[in-house]
Amino acid sequence: MNPAAIDRYLELWRITKTYQGAAGPVSVVKDFNLTVKQGEFISLIGHSGCGKSTVLSMVAGLSEPSKGGLVLAGREITGPGPDRGVVFQSPSLLPWLTALQNVTLGIRQVKPTASRKEIDEIGAHYLTLVGLGDALHTRPPELSQGMRQRVGLARAFALNPKMLLLDEPFGMLDSLTRMELQQILIDLWLEDQKTALMVTHDVDEALLLSDRVVMMTNGPEARVGEILEVPFARPRDRFALIEDPQFEALRDQLVGFLEDHAVGHAAERVAQQRSEKTDSESGLPTVTPAELVTVEDA
């Protein structure tokens, strides 16, 4: 692959996603631009409801942008594909299948010629890597929350995708389990440095795992606010990192951005309400016809 293709492995170009809200169409994200290098680990951080999952699901191909385009490895993303492994916000395991069956379900599609035994071996291998070697044949209802999320990780990695998409994979876990799973994730990732895009709420997690942290402004019409480079060498040690003075500075920067937008969030809303009022008074529509055409009926 030529260097340009490696530098612009994933490109989000002026992504806009418009939903039909109660009070007319609402653009959750607008003109969202992002370029990701191959092998880069990117965290997407922002306030709840700003549209992080929306962006991720467009990269996953689960929903289409209303405007703009996404290009992965030189090809436009038009739908989901086995080149992108997704770990969902909730583990979304199939409760009627065992842990192993959940993991192998997708492998069969990627390796249609492999025998059943080979497929099971791959599945068992990844489940062992996430620490579930003893629970291959357990069904999700009997697994703990953390164990389910491990199966979710194994399922995504077992497909050996070119890119990993993780939507707050550890959001629902206690901090001990979270630390353990972060380590597992980074170990798996270090093996072959897949390009990864992870949504998170957790500032420390973002700094520990990623090469760059993308901060999103608040919705509606959220876009990339700032991008923070995380310069620490890998492999990173959680405890050494916390001691590092640079870590403190980066952390302050991230938290500062979030706090600004927490204040801005309320202020923005007031401003928005004010502008709505004037709009209705003047009787002018706030949407252009061109926007209406691309509104999704989702």
């Binding site: 996953a60 191909g61 689960l62 739908g79 989901p80 594909g81 086995p82 992108r84 492994g85 997704v86 969902f88 909730s90 979304s92 199939l94 409760p95 009627w96 299948l97 379900l105 997708g106 069969r108 599609q109 069904r139 209802p141 009997e142 497909l159």
Partner: protein, 371 residues
């Protein structure tokens, strides 16, 4: 302890949770906790049933009909045992009939054989033709004897068996149609829109309206010679009527189950790029099984109710016909026997429902999956 847990789980699965404390008591778990529960959930219902019997007895003696007074519980009990005794007699009769029949057929065969040896003897050369003819005639007699069937009226238990067979056939037929159509409906809103008018219009139709049509159509299409046929016409008519009336709950519930699958599962299927067949068999079917079984359970209940009416009209041997015949006979035991039939119908309906509940709990993946 393992055995106890299994029994308790089994009770829970069968919906017999009321007997939980009995098992615990027998296993020596602290009696003071179990005894009140036994009192409340076993003794009280038994008391209620006793009260029902008492009211029935009193009411029975005070209502006079043209067949005498309404039978009290005891009379019904007696009628029930009489029906059982009659069943044993019929069974014995039938066995005797077939023993006799086989014996007679064997005699014919033996006679034919003797005639043939005689015909082969050169001494009887003059009579050979007549002997051969007689042998062939005896062969024919043996064959026709073997074809004879017991013609006595079926016993009460035979009727129950026929009813169960009919309802089961109708139910299988209904499921075979309703499940695939329901899945298609759930998958494709367009298909659903096409089928929905039929569902809405045919769902409320009573079995009594279907039956004449079914009987006429079956009469026109099912022209196999009755002696050769595997099934009787009346049996097929009843089974089809049961199917027509009972397929709707399964159809609508399956469609609902398929259409309302958790969006997460669909996203998983999309992300993993599952083929259409694994999508259906690995995701859609398992996810909609619980609702599908709810539908099947309602269908079986409806089918059992419809069957009695269908049998009455179609004169298909079965519980419905039994009730109708008793009504027509009009003897003093009539009412008691009809009541026996009522309890039988109720009891079997209850059992069928229990079986379906157990199946339903076994396939529902979220809670009872480990039990």
């Amino acid at each position: 302890m393992k055995i106890k847990a299994t029994i308790l789980n089994g009770l829970q699965l069968a919906g017999l949770g009321a007997f939980d404390p009995v098992v615990r008591l027998l296993s020596g778990e602290n009696p003071s906790a179990q005894l009140p529960k036994i009192g409340q959930f076993i003794l009280m219902p038994i008391g209620g049933f006793a009260l029902f019997l008492a009211v029935w007895t009193i009411a029975a003696s005070s209502i006079q009909t043209r067949y005498g007074s309404i039978p009290n519980p005891k009379a019904v009990w007696v009628a029930g045992s009489q029906l059982l005794a009659a069943h044993q007699k019929t069974t014995a009769d039938r066995q005797q009939f077939y023993v006799d029949r086989d014996k007679q057929a064997k005699e014919y065969v033996e006679k034919a054989a003797t005639l043939r040896t005689a015909a082969a003897d050169p001494k009887n050369a003059a009579l050979k033709d007549r002997l051969d003819e007689a042998a062939v005639k005896n062969d024919g007699l043996a064959a026709s004897t073997m074809k004879r069937k017991y013609a006595g009226s079926p016993s009460y238990l035979d009727q129950i068996r026929t009813s169960l067979l009919t309802v089961f056939t109708g139910f299988v037929l209904a499921s075979a149609i309703a499940i695939p159509v329901g899945i298609l409906c759930g998958l494709s809103p367009v298909f659903m829109a096409c089928v929905n008018p039929f569902i809405q219009i045919f769902k409320p139709v009573s079995p009594l309206a279907w039956l004449p049509i079914v009987m006429i159509v079956v009469g026109a299409l099912y022209t196999t010679d009755p002696s050769e046929a595997w099934f009787e016409k009346s049996f097929i008519s009843s089974a089809i009527t049961v199917a027509l009336c009972s397929l709707w709950p399964t159809l609508t519930n399956t469609a609902l189950g398929v259409a309302s699958i958790d969006k997460d599962y669909i996203n998983v299927a999309r992300v993993l790029q599952l083929s259409p067949s694994s999508r259906v068999f690995k995701i859609i079917l398992p996810a909609s099984l619980p609702l599908m079984f709810t539908g099947l359970r309602i269908s079986l209940g409806v089918g059992w109710m419809v069957l009695i009416a269908a049998e009455m009209l179609a004169q298909n041997p079965g519980l419905g016909k039994f009730v109708w015949d008793m009504f027509q006979n009009g003897s003093s035991e009539t009412l008691a026997q009809i009541m026996v039939a009522v309890f039988t119908i109720g009891g079997i309906g209850f059992l069928l429902d229990r079986i379906m509940i157990v199946c339903q709990r076994m396939v529902s993946f979220d809670s009872a999956v480990s039990a």
